[in-house]
């Protein structure tokens, strides 16, 4: 073969490749497979893999390719990886973002590249306002925090001490709860903030106990709930009749079963429980557990629904896979998720979903968040006010 032939073949190959790339929708999935939030990353990856296994990797004639990158729970790394995926891999969508700071750093990149960024985990209210290309399939903390405040007031809880982790989602939870609770005539004698890396909750719990509240409102990120619960019981607060309420992060399905009897009776408001009673969820939990050997939690449904949103958007956009078309298709999308009916608010690009009130109970020897009340189609209260 002459040199010319090779050159010609190369040129042809080069020219052909953009055409080939058109046929593939590349999804850059950036989550924490290692580091502090590793459990979140594993939940999301498990759910994304499951969705693709169940639904195949082609939709509307396009091939869906997920490119997984590990952020190591470090937002700086998320930024670098997002840049790399956008510039080198020409991804059509970026997704993942295990914590709020990770979503924040990705936001300007999505705006610049004009591609949708699907937030599958991070829960601070303001995230979707950081870029017009951000769409969220997880939750916002004010959603559950406001609802649990309403529930507490109705159930004769008048005096509450709040304990939250000292970072953005914690402030969100604290603010949403406090506003709603005070509006209904509740009293908050103490508002405590615990450092994110605090290994010992003892002094905070003691201070809360000394205020003799009816209940403690608690938000700690997924991963610290168990330690908190143990120390809550150690101090005898459960026996003293102090209730524990909050958004469902504290009784995360991932860990709940290891927490032991200390967790029994904790009442939380949240978007998802592995125990959610619907045929779709039963199948989901079964398939997820078979594939991953651990229980899916609320992070996993964020990943599963995020994948669904991308698939459905590709189908709805009818062959166009540029960022703006996909984004337009995502807005207002409605579907049935394992967590119940959900939709994407076309105005705010944030998720609208049912919030359930649940109580920890023992079922077939395992601990579950058992749902007993539903608040339907809750929008993010953090934005509704504006």
């Amino acid at each position: 073969m002459s040199l010319k032939c090779i050159a010609a073949a190369l040129t042809a190959a080069l020219l052909a490749s953009p055409a080939l790339a058109q046929e593939t929708v590349k999804v850059g999935l950036i989550v924490s497979m290692t580091g502090q939030q590793a459990s979140t990353g594993k939940q999301i990856k498990g759910a994304v893999d499951l969705y693709m296994k169940q639904h195949g990797d082609t939709v509307a004639g396009k091939k869906i390719q997920v490119i997984l990158r590990d952020s190591g729970s470090i937002p700086d790394q998320t930024k670098r990886l997002a840049q790399e995926l956008i510039v080198n891999e020409h991804v059509n969508v970026i997704a993942g973002f295990e914590i709020t700071p990770a979503a924040f750093v990705a936001a300007p990149l999505a705006t610049e590249a004009k591609i949708p960024a699907v937030v599958m985990a991070a829960g601070t209210s303001v995230i979707t306002e950081k870029s017009p290309y951000i769409v969220r399939t997880s939750f916002t903390l004010p959603q559950s925090s406001t609802i649990i405040a309403d529930w507490a007031l109705k159930n004769n809880i008048k005096k509450v001490v709040t304990i939250v982790s000292d970072y953005a989602p914690g402030f969100d939870a604290e603010k949403a709860f406090t506003e709603q609770f005070k509006k209904g005539g509740g009293e908050i004698p103490q508002a405590l903030r615990v450092p994110l890396a605090s290994p010992d909750f003892a002094p905070f719990l003691q201070r809360a106990a000394d205020a003799k509240p009816d209940a403690i409102f608690i938000f700690v990120p997924s991963g610290q709930g168990g330690t908190f619960m143990k120390q809550f019981a150690e101090r005898g607060l459960d026996k003293a009749g102090v209730k524990l309420i909050g958004p469902g992060d504290v009784t995360d399905d991932d860990e709940l079963n290891n927490m032991g009897d200390a967790a029994l009776g904790v009442v939380t408001a949240h978007l998802y429980s592995a125990d959610h009673n619907s045929p779709l969820n039963k199948d989901y939990v079964k398939a997820f557990e078979a594939a991953n050997h651990f229980r899916p939690n609320f992070m996993s449904v964020g990943g599963y629904d995020g994948m669904h949103l991308i698939y459905a958007a590709v189908e709805k956009a009818g062959g166009k896979i540029d960022g703006d078309s996909l984004l337009a298709a995502m807005k207002g999308m409605k579907w049935e998720s394992p967590r119940g009916p959900i939709s994407i608010d076309p105005e705010t690009r944030d998720i609208v979903q049912n919030i359930y009130i649940r109580k920890v109970e023992r079922k077939n020897g395992e601990l579950y968040n058992v749902e007993f009340a539903t608040f339907e189609a809750v929008k993010d209260p953090g934005k509704a006010k504006k």
Binding site: Q36, K42, D200, A202, P203, G223, G236, N258, F294
Partner: protein, 286 residues
Amino acid sequence: MLTILFDGIAYGMLLFVLASGLAVTLGLMNFVNLAHGSFAMAGGYVTVALVNSLGVPFFLSLPLAFLVSGLLGLLFERTLYVHVYRKSHLDQVLFTIGLVFMSVAAVDYVMGSSQVFVRIPRELQGQFSVFGVGIGRYRLLIIIICGLLTAVLQYILARTRFGSRLRAAVDDGRVARGLGIDVNRIFALTFAVGSGLAGLGGALGVEILGLDPAFPLKIMIYVLIVVTVGGTSSIIGPFLASLLLGICDVAGKYYAPAVGPFVIYSIMIIVLLWRPQGLFARAASR
């Protein structure tokens, strides 16, 4: 008030068990071992595995955690650490921090990334009250174990033949060798005991601090603060430093929750400005 003092002492004691091994290797062997927390994590996971999966009683699992971590320490000392004793401190830091990351990833792979807990016996749960002071049973256990441990360690280092040999080996290895002391064996043994102590601390700490693969990174800062504030020339220094930090940390978080987390760092800065070699160190000898 006294409950806070009690909690502070228990927390300080726990810090001490975690840090004492490092005080031994850093102070006596002059070796910077940032991977100390990894041995603590090993002890923690050994306890969790023994108690939760194999049904071993909790009290029996504590010495086993000590043994397993100690053996691990011995193995690593003989195969890896022995090559970096004579290297500069920077090399030691780089080497051991690498070990930390490897251990984090390895545990994540084997044990999973979510937090695990140990089932402690019922008689250790909860609080009882003495003259109105709430005493946590588990925290009381920590205080007792750590008190005994300190006494034993101090006795061994200051009063026994092994202690004097160890100090001789550290002060001047060549002369010690010339006198027929097997320096390598002493170092290996000391390192193993230090790692074992970390393992014991990890096992005791699961209940209070929680345990996940990021554990070595989480406790590294606290342990280093204890050792720098306490100085490394004796066991008493880190012991008192642990108590001071534990009590101030808990009290600070209780009385001034808004600034509480900074108390421990402020103390460190003040102490180091005043005595850069640590509270209880001899005048800088090296």
